[in-house]
Symmetry: none
Subunit: 482 residues, 2 copies
Amino acid sequence: MNDLTILFADRKKTGIGKCLYQQIYEYIRDEIRKGKLPIGEKLPSTRSLAEYLQVARSTVDAAYGQLVAEGYLEARPCRGYFVSPVEGLLAISPDVSDEKIPSDIVPGGKEEGTFPEYDFSPHAISLKDFPFATWKKITKNILVDANSEMFALGEPQGDYALRETIARYLHSSRGVNCRPEQVIVGAGNDYLFMLLEKILGRHVPIAMEEPTYKRAYRVFQSFAYEIQAIPMDESGMDVERLRETKARIAYVMPSHQYPTGVVMPIGRRMELLKWASEKEDRYIIEDDYDSEFRYRGKPIPALQAQDAGGRVIYMGTFSKSIAPAIRVGYMVLPLRLVRTYQESCGFYASTVSRIDQRILNEFIRDGYFERYLNKMRKIYRGRHDFLLGEMACFEKEFVISGENAGLHILLTSRSQIPEKDLIGAAAGAGVKLYGITEACMEQATQSHMPFAGTVLLGYGALEEQELKEGIGRIKKAWSAWL
Amino acid sequence: MNDLTILFADRKKTGIGKCLYQQIYEYIRDEIRKGKLPIGEKLPSTRSLAEYLQVARSTVDAAYGQLVAEGYLEARPCRGYFVSPVEGLLAISPDVSDEKIPSDIVPGGKEEGTFPEYDFSPHAISLKDFPFATWKKITKNILVDANSEMFALGEPQGDYALRETIARYLHSSRGVNCRPEQVIVGAGNDYLFMLLEKILGRHVPIAMEEPTYKRAYRVFQSFAYEIQAIPMDESGMDVERLRETKARIAYVMPSHQYPTGVVMPIGRRMELLKWASEKEDRYIIEDDYDSEFRYRGKPIPALQAQDAGGRVIYMGTFSKSIAPAIRVGYMVLPLRLVRTYQESCGFYASTVSRIDQRILNEFIRDGYFERYLNKMRKIYRGRHDFLLGEMACFEKEFVISGENAGLHILLTSRSQIPEKDLIGAAAGAGVKLYGITEACMEQATQSHMPFAGTVLLGYGALEEQELKEGIGRIKKAWSAWL
């Protein structure tokens, strides 16, 4: 608050005849324009500024409201008002660096824009049901016991106890065959990919399913990997097409492909494993990102469970199954890659704090994770079933696919209504849908792919009432096509 | 149907306790795997198998459904279930990997061996005085407030509030000029180096001081960087020698070089900055790893504080000043590298959990960090002074250097007693000392360097009584030379 009150100090003396609201509004706006109030700066609360200026609080409220409306400020619930990133404004910090922050440098990283009322994001998950109380209890207990050893640096691969717990969990829930020695714990999958680059080498030709998980694609692209987009058919990555490339690595999501929802049948799995076994340095990266959520039948075992030749690198994360803030993912390396890892980057310090590792270990080991997964599976299944029911009205015009697992469903237009028309119409009704082309690597082939005119409807973060209302709005918006 | 019912005949008799659905599923799956149910074979209808086995039809439905989902069976509308063609199935491995863990794969990562009674490790720090109670209190309060937003994924660069706090702290304590937009928070320096590789590019020729911080050297080596070892003189990296190389990056520790303890004077700093400014893509990495601990005079400002041209990448860590388990380091990028960062890897998810970021933010913001640093500075200064006093007896034979800052002191033999003899004799008396050659990159030049016959005595983790006893033992062990 200091800066602003200092800025206002002069003003207070020279106060001119304009209405107070206008004065406050213009003053703050100009300070932002000049860069004296830098992007991200928190403003004093309306109450304290009103007290300081000795004006009615409603006057300050009105000024702030105007600034929010014009995009100079943003209001963050329970936190207050902050200077927005405004393109083209020169944000100069007076007392610190006088270099200018170019307008293309995003201060936060969060995208700005209007928020849709119903966001069917396929990546959103529900955090409301997370057992915060349990997590807090475990944390508290661990901190009570915490000694200086807990604050010392742990093992690079992750604490052995946690790796044992993960290996046991993966074996029982996913059929993964591994020893704790093969497990590497790291702060999220992007970091684990960075380690994989060190292990697998540079400029590696890598095959990815088309469409695929775009985040992994961007990471591989940032590694300057030669990426081969291999078309999907109804069984997953087309291994014949894979053979035509010189790819050494195949990145796949056999349990529930993103975004198509295709489950790779055992036959295709064996073909893929056979491909890998044919050359010395071929590997498969199995990204098992949301395998915890399957609503019909048993979970599909991991591809790694069938890997007799040590060719599958298995990756998983707790970001989807516990919470994104829990920056813990893991990968299971084939034994010979464990050796490469230890030689090439086994000395890199662990990226996960020991305290977090211990909390996570107890959360899984003591059964809370299993219980939470069961609860979430039930909740997500409920939403999935409800959404499918609501979507019945689309069946004539759309093919529904990708159901029974994961957190999203696909709608494909039978009459090839362009994806952008579908999304645009929904957006007009306050509903955000996601097009499958966002998950496509090669823009050129879009129109030829079997998923043309396809939108994704994620339901992880939407409750039944929201699903109902959202679908109702889509129905209206699309009425010309239905 | 015949085959399968015959196959089931045995099974029916020996039926074990597993749930029926699981039994049927596993049985059919195993028969397919073993090839006993050939490809294309039609299975009995769910109704007839249910009757035959005297189980509910839904049980058989579920088992078939699972087998279809996994690709063992295929359902043909109006015709029934058939065994899918599966390539290479017979090669499937038994349920658990019986591959042995080769003996060269270290399960833990911790080195075994006998522990010396007095370990003068230059990397050890004291954790006894860490304000665990405060840390726990902050954690507890944060968890009380914790809501689902805290468990959502934060910004890739780190939470803005923490970056603001770090920028403010660096400005006041180290003179660093930066905006929160330039700060990147990451899980430890090894991770931040990995990001730097993405930002600075590959195969970069990099100059390092000889001797240097070996951990950074190993990391750069793992990047296949062309490392140029530049000799140190009493002012730090020899810039004339640096000019003879084609290095684009210079990695330096100007405030307290590791291991020599040299503080780079302002003249050398300006020379180094000038070198960087002469070509478009030259940068200096300033690793300010232990600048918090300086016992005489004011802290030396960071090199970054004098950098007018945006050429210094400033790195720091809380691992040394708070605790190694707090996996949080940070770097401050020049503005144009912020842009490169955002383009090349700005989308990599943050490696530090939001909860940890928030704890750390409050710990610093609310003054606990400053207080803790003051306390530790006093403790370390006490140990430093005490150790210097105890070491007076070495002055005739040894040059003492690197004092007044950091957590270790150097002893250099005036009569060139080999380092290994010094260490060996001490080890015989239960004292572990560290040779400077451990910090050398080029083994060949060891004997020519000004630090030949030099050992490091770290005192961070040793109390006065231990320092006294340790030095007493060294004195005895070295009595022939003193």
